[in-house]
């Protein structure tokens, strides 16, 4: 999860540096993103996370702030991801009856989504002539960052590149998930949530939670199971090939 774990180690340094501006800017940018998203009736393209990222980046460029200064200041927010992911146990627990009754759906979703997530990215990159290291860094792109980094290291990808690709995948899935569900005429919140969690981990789950608690719970479940299973299967497949 922690995309900048080296930076979160600097929490004390961040406190000493008074990161009010970086944290404040992040909160305000996300608030603006949420308002815009709501004004548009939760239009998928106006994803609050995406809007906030664009606003902060524009602000950083406009004020000539080094990216490192922002990232160090905002590392407290990045750290909050840890407790937040632990709290995903709550919607899972609340929906446990529905989850238990959907074993087949979850198994089928994973059996389809896990290999497709890896093979589609690897296949496209290979067909377009990407370097082997880039292809390996792409392989775990649908998995939550904390697990993806470990997989990338094991199979010989570039960890930093993998983090970048994982975040890009998450945002893509959060934006495209609801659009594709509508195109495919899929309304079952269990299917929409599970799909978004498998394809686009935590960022997809954040979006699924906006749809409903059922979608959010299934998304968190999809993210967790896909992460753990990919961590076991991908290095094995890589060794076999």
């Amino acid at each position: 999860m922690s995309a900048f774990s080296q930076l979160t180690d600097l929490t004390w340094a961040a406190l000493a540096e008074k990161p009010a501006l970086e944290i404040g800017a992040t909160v305000f940018a996300f608030l603006a993103g949420t308002r815009l998203s709501r004004l548009s009736g939760n239009h998928p393209l106006l994803n609050p996370t995406l809007i906030a990222i664009v606003l902060i980046s524009l602000g950083i460029e406009a004020t000539h702030t080094p990216y490192e200064t922002y990232l160090r200041g905002a590392s407290t927010i990045n750290f909050m991801l840890g407790p937040a992911v632990v709290l995903l146990a709550v919607p899972l627990f609340r929906q446990r009856a529905t989850i238990r009754a959907s074993g087949r759906l979850i198994a089928v979703g994973l059996a389809a989504g896990l290999p497709t997530g890896i093979l589609s990215a690897v296949g496209i990159a290979w067909a377009l002539g990407a370097s082997p290291q880039t292809i390996l860094s792409l392989a775990p792109k649908s998995v939550t960052a904390g697990i993806a980094v470990g997989i990338s290291e094991q199979i010989g990808g570039l960890q930093t590149l993998t983090i970048v690709l994982v975040i890009m995948t998450g945002i893509t899935g959060a934006v495209l998930g609801p659009i594709i569900a509508r195109l495919a005429r899929i309304e079952d919140p269990r299917v929409v949530g599970l799909t978004m969690g498998i394809a686009s981990h935590g960022i997809g789950t954040a979006r699924a939670l906006q749809i409903s608690e059922v979608a959010g719970a299934f998304s968190g479940l999809g993210m967790g199971l896909n992460g753990v299973l990919t961590a076991i299967l991908l290095p094995l497949i890589y060794k076999l090939l």
């Binding site: 590392s75 909050m80 377009l128 995948t169």
Partner: protein, 132 residues
């Protein structure tokens, strides 16, 4: 409420210890999620404050990814050399994954439930007819 924050941090810390000691190859938050779920399953009940805490925090889960997303922009140089294959693989690959997973899961995964639902509906209709 403080008690619930402590509960969450406790399981996160257990996960962190498991990760740092090399006991489990999972990141601390994933282990923490599993352990908190296990604790709730054993208790069989969700403490009210924990439910409120989760609802409040998860409402802005999307905000917690903003610094990482901004970091991506800082590292865009990494992509320059192979921008086209990477962008097509990420966007195209994610779209394909979403489409395939959603269609397969809804066609094969919910088939039985739909049939069961139809049966239930039929039974309900029968029951209504009988009562009339």
């Amino acid at each position: 409420m403080l008690e619930q924050i402590a509960r969450v941090m406790f399981w996160l810390c257990v996960g962190e210890i498991a990760a740092r000691s090399g006991l489990l190859p999972l990141p601390a938050p994933v282990t923490g999620l599993i352990l908190l779920y296990a604790e709730l399953a054993v208790r069989g009940k969700l403490p009210d404050d924990l439910g409120i805490l989760a609802d409040r925090v998860l409402q802005f889960l999307g905000m917690l990814f903003v610094p990482a997303g901004v970091g991506v922009i800082a590292y865009l140089d990494l992509l320059k050399a192979e921008a086209v294959p990477i962008l097509v693989a990420v966007i195209g690959g994610t779209a394909i994954t979403l489409l395939v997973t959603a269609i397969v899961a809804s066609r094969l995964g919910t088939a039985r439930t739909t049939i069961e639902k139809q049966k239930l509906d039929e039974l309900e209709e029968l029951a209504r007819d009988v009562s009339i």
